[in-house]
């Protein structure tokens, strides 16, 4: 199958930014809003802006959660970006009564609640920060370096113990990138991280 990346489109997400990056990289892509859009998709990207509860609600309303699960279970490659990564876990304190996709057991927490005696830590975590590569076969997908982040909630490092490929420090160490089999999560925005970010998108999309 020729690689064809499906970009999940929900009302509050920045799907267009991801699409433009894929167009620029000349990677075949299609927007997915409904069940019928899932045709010949080899890869899925779940972009991430908005709020946890709303994204899950939108995916449910659009009737596409089952199809995403199906493709994931078939071994197609899935990338969650920022909120897209967060919802792949069980829960987030952002919308504590909403369940995530449950592919992983992590729960997302808020940087605001880290002990912050010297007031130097600002929330949201917005700007460029260093992603330190964790040595693993998958870590070649994300080269260490600075990437662009914009979020208040994070995945605690200890909750992705064996699948972490990138760690970043903001008051504490959190998981900035992970990969398990066909599923990858990035807390930063590769579509906004200039050349380094585009490289990650390219490598993700080229997986076979």
């Amino acid at each position: 199958m020729v690689n064809n990346v499906g970009i999940i489109r929900t009302p509050s997400s920045n799907w267009n930014s991801v699409k433009r990056a894929m167009d620029y990289l000349k990677i075949s892509n299609v927007l997915i809003s409904q069940k019928k859009d899932f045709n010949d998709i080899s890869h899925i990207i779940i972009p991430g802006t908005g709020t946890y509860g709303d994204v899950i609600k939108d995916l449910e309303n659009q009737g596409i959660i089952d199809s995403i699960f199906e493709l994931k279970n078939q071994g197609r490659f899935v990338l969650g970006i920022c909120l897209g990564m967060q919802i792949m876990g069980e829960r987030s304190t952002e919308s504590s009564n909403v369940s995530g996709l449950g592919w992983f057991t992590y729960s997302c927490l808020n940087f605001e609640n880290i002990p912050n005696d010297n007031k130097a830590l600002k929330t949201p975590h917005t700007g460029w920060n260093f992603v330190n590569s964790i040595k693993s076969p998958a870590s070649s997908l994300v080269n260490k370096g600075d990437y662009y982040f914009s979020h208040s909630f994070y995945v605690p490092k200890n909750e992705t113990e064996h699948i972490t490929i990138g760690v970043t420090e903001n008051g504490l160490d959190f998981t900035s990138a992970f990969k398990e089999d066909n599923i990858m999560g990035l807390q930063f925005h590769p579509e906004k991280s200039q050349a380094k970010g585009l490289e990650v998108l390219k490598k993700f999309s080229e997986q076979k």
Binding site: S12, S17, Y24, T49, N116, P124, N129, H151, S152, E191
Partner: protein, 254 residues
């Protein structure tokens, strides 16, 4: 830790032939065009900008034209882009997200359009909203916000800012209007007070003339510095600027 940011500003105004030009101002007036916004953005990205601020100066340019411009920009610029310019409604904000904006800058509407910040923050997250405090200082040390006649003392200004943060503003943009394009540097006094009051990122928005102004702003607590005329004047290359800042012990991409 997260790095300090340099944010070049692209100010937009309409030209007599109907086109949109990028340029610079002083005291929010005396617009001098310097070129095409898209070309400017490309040059800035090539020179490692951390973000780009696109600001519509006035209502002579329609938002529809701006949507087109931003779409065009976002097709080639893979850096965070923030946009501001009298944004008043949630529909405008939604359109801007679709076009490819990373953050919206909201000024007067934060206090005149009741629910706008809360609605926008609930929908897109507070990391999406920058509250722009555009002000002038009176001789007796009080603050007049743009588009209001009300005067604030420091305590009441802080109360207002904290209230807007509570509504959902995730960053603050501090713009002393008298220091725009100025020769007197940024307002470090207010920055210091603000930095000890809030725990959201603060961006200095006006008054940057020299490399030292960047350094002083970061050392006083600014998380980011936005500059317009500094980059238009091109006395220091952006990469030289970063080296200077880095050499002062400030963590910045370089």
């Amino acid at each position: 830790m997260i790095k300090k940011r340099i944010i070049p500003k692209i100010l937009l105004d309409s030209m007599s032939n109907g086109s949109i030009a990028a340029g610079m101002t002083s005291s929010y007036d005396n617009f001098i065009p310097i070129g095409s916004p898209i070309s400017q953005a490309k040059i800035l990205q090539d020179n490692l900008c951390d973000e780009i601020f696109v600001c519509k100066r006035n209502d002579k340019i329609s938002l529809d034209l701006c949507y087109e411009l931003i779409e065009e920009m976002a097709a080639e610029i893979f850096s965070p882009i923030s946009f501001g310019g009298n944004i008043q409604t949630i529909e405008e904000i939604s359109n801007l997200v679709t076009c490819g904006i990373e953050q919206v800058v909201i000024g007067r509407a934060a206090t005149t359009e009741g629910d706008l910040i809360r609605k926008a923050s609930n929908k897109f997250g507070n990391q999406f909203i920058i509250y722009s405090i555009d002000y002038r200082k009176t001789p007796d040390g009080r603050f007049r916000l743009d588009h209001t006649s009300e005067l604030f003392d420091t305590k009441n200004l802080m109360k207002l800012i904290l209230a807007v943060i509570k509504l959902g503003a995730g960053q603050l943009l501090l713009c002393n209007m008298d220091r725009d394009g100025s020769t007197i540097g940024p307002d470090l006094e207010l920055l210091k007070i603000l930095n000890s009051t809030v725990s959201v990122p603060i961006i200095i928005g006006t008054g940057i003339r020299t490399v030292s102004d960047f350094i002083d702003a970061y050392k006083t607590g600014a998380d980011a510095v936005a500059a317009g005329s500094f980059f238009c004047k091109k006395d220091t290359s952006p990469l030289q600027l970063r080296s200077h800042i880095w050499n002062e012990g400030i963590d910045i991409r370089h």
